[in-house]
Symmetry: C2
Subunit: 197 residues, 2 copies
């Protein structure tokens, strides 16, 4: 009897310690990122209930083509972060492993209903994600493009611009908090910004 109990505990601890290792498909705890057996990021289905970070309209960047002058209505970008990552950041000023940002791109319209000027958000255009996992990703963070799909997404190749741009230009640990006023305030209060952007 005692031996059976010990074996059960051993199996339990083995399951605990191997969950999330290597290429095993791990169920995510709470809002932690979940990966399938091929290392693809599962779509974070409830990201709209995560913590809102900020929005931009048709933001373009140095060295990038396009922007507001393109032949289409401007696009909004809404940024969300998973609650566990957010809470840790507000407490410590640093992003823990498992932090997941979602960038939601939405089309815009004007002169709809009683609106006569300015822009409001309409259909979903694309969803992208950025996940911190220093064991999984060579550069500490991985980038993923879901488009308008909810299938698991492969990590974008580390040769792509998103990695170098976030590494070189983001104000804090690959995150563009210079464009996120509430996170910027929090980082300043924590004194974690080397140089104010």
């Amino acid at each position: 009897m005692e031996r059976t109990v010990k074996l059960a505990w051993a199996a339990f601890f083995l399951a605990l310690t191997t969950a999330g290792c290597g290429t095993q498909a791990a169920p995510a705890a709470g809002d932690a990122p979940a990966f399938d057996e091929d290392g693809r990021l599962r779509f974070p289905a409830d990201y709209r209930e995560w913590v809102y970070v900020s929005s931009g309209l048709d933001m373009t960047y140095e060295g990038e083509e396009g922007g507001a002058n393109q032949d289409r209505p401007p696009m909004f970008t809404n940024v969300f972060v998973n609650p566990a990552g957010y809470r840790a950041f507000m407490e410590t000023g640093a992003w823990p492993n498992g932090t997941t940002f979602v960038l939601e791109v939405r089309e815009s319209a004007s002169e709809g209903s009683i609106n006569k000027d300015g822009r409001f958000q309409t259909g979903l255009a694309a969803i992208e994600a950025e996940v911190k996992d220093q064991a999984r990703f060579p550069k500490g963070w991985g980038f993923f493009a879901f488009g308008r799909d909810t299938e698991p997404a492969e990590a974008i190749a580390t040769t792509q611009d998103c990695y170098s741009c976030h590494s070189e230009h983001a104000a804090l640990d690959h995150t563009f908090i210079q464009f996120y006023p509430t996170l910027l305030d929090a980082a300043r209060k924590k004194g974690v910004l080397a140089d104010a952007p």
Copy 2:
């Protein structure tokens, strides 16, 4: 001893049943709106952790002056709803009493850091709120303007435009979900929209 216990329970139930009545200052349960002894709405300090609804840029409306052509940079408006109201809406397609919307107005900038075009959000300009409470407000909902202050705010007089405009033009129960794509989708799935806006 038994009598003491009974009295303690009686006091407990009395406290429960009188909380939130009349002009008593009631502590809010969870994310429910809290009012002070003068019926002013206490500032919802954690609204940035509520559920994000949508954003607009410099939206103006029929019969309204101003907008994108004013002599100032355009303003973003971010809308949030308290989680309890959101959860009820997603389940039923209706807003329960206690539902609280927050409208956060933010200034915008361009050409900051590596941004070269489009707009991103910067300083806080104003915060407004809309609360559903059919017992408290003659029109079912009350409107509040905090500005950049966090002191309790009096309800805006019901003669002001916000009441008539939300009553006449909002797609569902005084809420402008025609400008909130995810809530609009949810309402359509629930079949609660009389006319698609």
